[in-house]
Amino acid sequence: MAANNSSTAAPDVRFVVPDHIVRREFVEETVILNLKTGKYHGLNPTAAKMLDTLERTGTIAEAAAELADLYGQPPEVIREDLADLCEAMTERGFIEKVAPVDAHP
């Protein structure tokens, strides 16, 4: 998996959940376990849904389109929320940005 450290969370940047991140859904929250650090983190149901959708679709743009339908919100609002969440989750190592294939020779 190729990851970069760019700080921009552009709508078409692709994200993945790395192998060292394990998550389990509890009744009122999702617990994320970072196997590299042994630390646990909690996600509320909305953030957990965003992470699930982002993992499945790969980009903020695609995830936002799907979530906008689900929550009945304008896609640009969801995109903004997702970008903020992605930044916070990237900082904590829950997700990683994947370099586009054509970025390498």
Partner: protein, 318 residues
């Protein structure tokens, strides 16, 4: 001699009165062997250890020390002996050879066996527990909250006891099962004074072992699904014992109740722990037990028994 406790089959060179006997005939999970101090020291010296649990008394004396080594765990508790629990194969060397049996037994059942259970794929919650109507109920609370006293009173009321301090759990067939621990039950001095002659006789005439009295209760015979968790809250304003349904046990509570949280920090254990707790959160109910001042452990135990029996009844009819 063959025993079963904390989910594991134990083959021992010496008798252990507080463990339920087993008729298992397959290979034992854990072997116990009496060893000289030198042998325990030699095994520990083979590699460098990492301290994972240490209790130091106010006078500076080390009360308990557990070190994790690549090949096992070195455990020492002042007057109760020294152990090396090797992981491959799972075998505990128990030293010194001439220690009084109860001293060896006390630490063995309180620490060595639970660590062996952990290494065998079980999780441990800091809780006392009993069996009510075919299900397990667990009582959570910090040290001194009254977990052991409630287990004692539930045992005296005739309920099979799973543990007075360390609850061993594992997933089997999509459920979290609570496994019986040992017969041994710790009794605080204040609780010991309240025991009647009949109570004492049922507990096998509890003996004073220095800081606590120890008796024996009837252990549960088999693992049962863990369905109800009680969290004790003392000093409540209420004028009687009250139960408040909190909902599902939350991960913070469960992770915070993990025993030996610093041991065996492997990916496998961390993921297993999360899987057990996730399932428990789905399958178990959590109640806060508000306990007014002046209410005895026997009274609280009676209320918990009635409450748990009603939950068990609902589970059956539901």
């Amino acid at each position: 001699m063959r025993y079963r406790a904390y989910g594991i089959e134990v083959q021992s060179e010496f008798p252990i009165s507080s463990l339920p006997a087993s008729e298992g005939s397959g290979p034992a999970t854990l072997r116990l062997r009496v060893a000289a101090d030198e042998e325990v020291g030699r095994r520990a010296a083979e590699s460098e250890g990492r301290s994972v649990e240490r209790i130091v008394h106010p006078d500076g004396e080390v009360g308990l020390q557990i070190d994790e080594h690549p090949s096992g765990y070195r455990m020492e508790v002042g007057p109760f002996g020294r152990y090396f629990l090797g992981t491959s194969p799972l075998e505990a060397l128990c030293a010194p050879a001439d220690v009084e049996p109860w001293r060896r037994e006390r630490f063995l059942v309180a620490r060595v066996l639970p660590v062996a259970a952990l290494l065998s794929g079980y999780e441990l919650l800091h809780a006392s527990a009993a069996e009510v109507g075919g299900m397990a109920i667990a009582i959570l609370g910090a040290s001194g909250a009254g977990k052991s006293s409630l287990a004692l009173r539930l045992g005296l009321a005739g309920l099979p006891i799973l543990t007075d301090d360390l609850l061993c759990v594992a997933i089997a067939e999509g459920r979290v099962l609570a496994h019986p621990g040992t017969r041994l039950i710790g009794i605080r001095e204040a609780e010991h004074r309240l025991l009647t002659a009949a109570d004492r006789a049922r507990l096998g005439d509890p003996v004073d072992r220095g800081d606590k009295h120890y008796g024996q209760v009837e252990p549960a015979g088999a693992p049962v699904p863990l369905r109800v968790l009680y969290r004790l809250r003392r000093g409540a304003e209420a004028d009687q014992v009250a139960f408040t349904r909190v909902g599902a046990p939350d991960p913070q509570l469960l992770l915070g109740s993990t025993f030996f949280a610093q041991l065996q920090l492997t990916e496998e254990r961390l993921v297993r722990q999360l899987d057990v707790y996730r399932l428990l959160a789905k399958q178990a109910e959590l109640f806060s037990v508000e306990i007014p001042r002046g209410v005895t452990a026997a009274e609280v135990a009676g209320e918990i028994e009635r409450h748990a029996a009603a939950r068990a009844g609902e589970a059956v009819s539901g």
